[in-house]
């Protein structure tokens, strides 16, 4: 039952009557009044023919607009009023036999009419509720469609657009709701090499033309502002009862952020692998060199282990700085942590930032210097001390850091006959960072001075 089949007046009357739901006594009162009025009218104008006829529309209306109870009441009251008006006081039972039969028939048949009218009313009420529910469901669906954080579109079998949500327009950067199936070319999807999709390559077109389903396929869109957006597209054909394609639904999801995160992660993993290999190479060098210069296996073990520990401490420091720049002061203190200075160790320098390479190299060098100082140098006697200082200087090419390790008050140290791990490393150190390195066995004490370019020190 659709609205177009009923007259608008009846529609409105029914709606109004359903809405208002009048109280029982009003309904019955109105019915009573109308029936009595019709009865009177019939008596005065119509006369003695068709006693019940005029009441039928009243019952019908009562049933339709006021409900079944009122309809039946109207039937009974009409019969009574009609009976009263055609009756003869002279008759024994007020009405003649045929009149009684007529009345009974009237009551039976017209009750049926009243019930039918009431059912029609109920049908209308149900249809109205269904319509309201459908409207509410549509409104909810619309809200979901418009507000979903993905691009949604619905196309007909001809390729014309049925529905497109705002998010789709935003993702595409343009409006492709106009036109037939060619409008998809306006999406401007491209392959990795920059070439545009042909019409047939669009998943939406594939769904409509060939019933092909696409699920979360990578879909690169080039927008009017030339920006490229990485998305994933799903296109599914819709079928009618006869199995023919009636349209297609497409969903486009913006995955640009996710892809960037993946790219970044790949980059980080590459960096990590690189760092690890470098660290491995350094460890190999430590072991190799320690074994070469050690006299006994015990010495070798000791020197490998203590150098490893120094390297690990430097790595911990770097990890806490996310392997970015760290303070030279922290590096120096970390490297000399295990050296029991007893106040014999002075560390002073300006704020300098160093990268992973410099941090690890400085740590190893300082470790060597400290180990030697403890074994043969200033820290081997209570009166000896060490001063570690550094400052920044300007040069023609940039800025450099001048670093000094000065032992004082220690025993006289003679240069060894052969260059050990420590001295070799120290030499390399200086040169490695674009500067110089000088190691002297002064009578006052061992002295190492190195200079390094501040920018070089920051390399990872």
């Amino acid at each position: 039952m659709t609205d177009t089949d009923m007259s608008p007046l009846l529609d409105r009357l029914l709606s109004w009557s359903l809405e208002r739901s009048l109280s029982a006594w009003i309904r019955y009162s109105i019915t009573t009044v109308v029936i009595i009025a019709v009865g009177l009218f019939r008596m005065l104008i119509v006369g003695s023919i068709v006693p019940w006829l005029l009441f039928i529309p009243v019952v019908l209306t009562a049933g339709l607009l006021l409900g079944r109870g009122t309809g039946i009441y109207a039937t009974l009251l009409s019969a009574a009023v009609a009976g009263l008006s055609i009756g003869d006081p002279a008759e024994q039972f007020w009405l003649t036999g045929p009149q009684w039969i007529g009345t009974t028939l009237f009551v039976l048949v017209v009750s049926g009419v009243a019930i039918l009218a009431a059912e029609l009313r109920a049908v209308f009420a149900r249809a109205q509720r269904l319509g309201i529910a459908k409207g509410a469901a549509e409104a909810s669906l619309n809200a979901v469609f418009e507000n979903a954080p993905v691009g949604l579109s619905l196309a007909a079998a001809s390729g014309k657009s049925v529905l497109i949500n705002e998010q789709m327009r935003r993702l595409l950067g343009r409006d492709i709701s106009q036109g037939g199936i060619d409008r998809y070319l306006g999406v401007n999807a491209i392959h990795d090499d920059g070439s545009s999709y042909t019409l047939g390559e669009y998943p939406q077109v594939d769904a409509i033309r060939h019933g092909v389903e696409t699920h979360a396929a990578p879909f690169l869109i080039e927008r009017p502002d030339s920006s490229r957006l990485r998305t994933e597209i799903s296109s599914v054909p819709l079928y009618g009862r006869d199995g023919a394609v009636t349209g297609a639904v497409s969903v486009i999801v913006d995955v640009e952020e996710r892809e960037r995160a993946v790219d970044h992660q790949t980059l980080l993993i590459g960096e990590l692998a690189h760092r690890m290999k470098n660290t491995m190479a350094m460890v190999q060098a430590i072991v190799h060199q320690s074994l070469r210069s050690a006299g006994t296996l015990a010495e070798a073990r000791e020197s490998v282990i203590s150098r490893f520990e120094a390297l690990v401490r430097a790595q911990d420091l770097l990890t806490s700085a996310d392997w970015r720049l760290t303070n030279l002061d922290a590096v120096v203190r970390g490297a000399l942590e295990t050296v029991n200075g007893d106040g014999r160790l002075l560390i002073a320098g300006c704020p300098v930032e160093v990268g992973a390479r410099a941090a690890m190299s400085f740590t190893l060098v300082l470790h060597e210097l400290a180990t030697n100082a403890l074994k043969y140098g200033a820290l081997s006697i209570p009166t000896g001390r060490v001063e570690v200082r550094w400052r920044e200087e300007g040069t023609e090419t940039g800025r450099s850091v001048v670093f000094t390790w000065q032992e004082l008050g220690g025993p006289v140290v003679l240069p060894p006959s052969r260059k050990g791990f420590g001295t070799r490393l120290i030499d390399s150190m200086g040169r490695g960072f674009g500067g110089q390195s000088e190691f002297q066995y002064d009578p006052t004490g061992v002295r190492w001075q190195a200079s390094a370019d501040t920018e070089r020190l920051k390399t990872t």
């Binding site: 290999k277 060098a285 390479r357 070799r424 040169r431 490695g432």
Partner: protein, 125 residues
């Protein structure tokens, strides 16, 4: 009988510890070793020492040119030069290296590098 002239190798590496170890290994193998801490320093060394027979360089270094670019530049100036390129990060493709250039991944064995240089220099001589 005069000593056979030692093969001269230029080692280009910016990490001091690795540089030191590489130099040590090559010295032990009987080479004469010269160091450089980046490409520009390496080019400078090459002009100072025309007697350099081989170049052993890392790829990732600070400065204007990386090891692969250095290899190409060296090959242009001295087509007969033995060039060995190493890296912990990138697996350098044969196509990236100049004619006669070789790649060895990090970490490497010093003796292996020495032997490889020995072979390549011998082959060229």
């Amino acid at each position: 009988m005069p000593d056979r002239k030692k093969t001269v190798v230029l080692v280009v590496e910016d990490e001091p510890l690795i540089l030191m170890d590489a130099m040590q290994s090559l010295e032990d193998a009987g080479f004469d070793v010269i160091d450089a801490y980046d490409s520009e320093h390496a080019l400078m060394r090459l002009s100072e020492r025309p007697d350099i027979d081989a170049v052993f360089t890392d790829v990732n270094m600070p400065g204007r040119f990386d090891g692969v670019q250095l290899a190409r530049m060296v090959s242009e100036r001295r087509p007969d030069m033995v060039i060995l390129v190493t890296s912990g990060a990138i697996k350098v493709q044969r196509a990236d290296l100049p004619e006669g250039g070789q790649f060895i991944p990090k970490p490497y064995r010093g003796e292996h590098v020495a032997r490889l240089i020995e072979e390549l220099v011998g082959a060229g001589a």
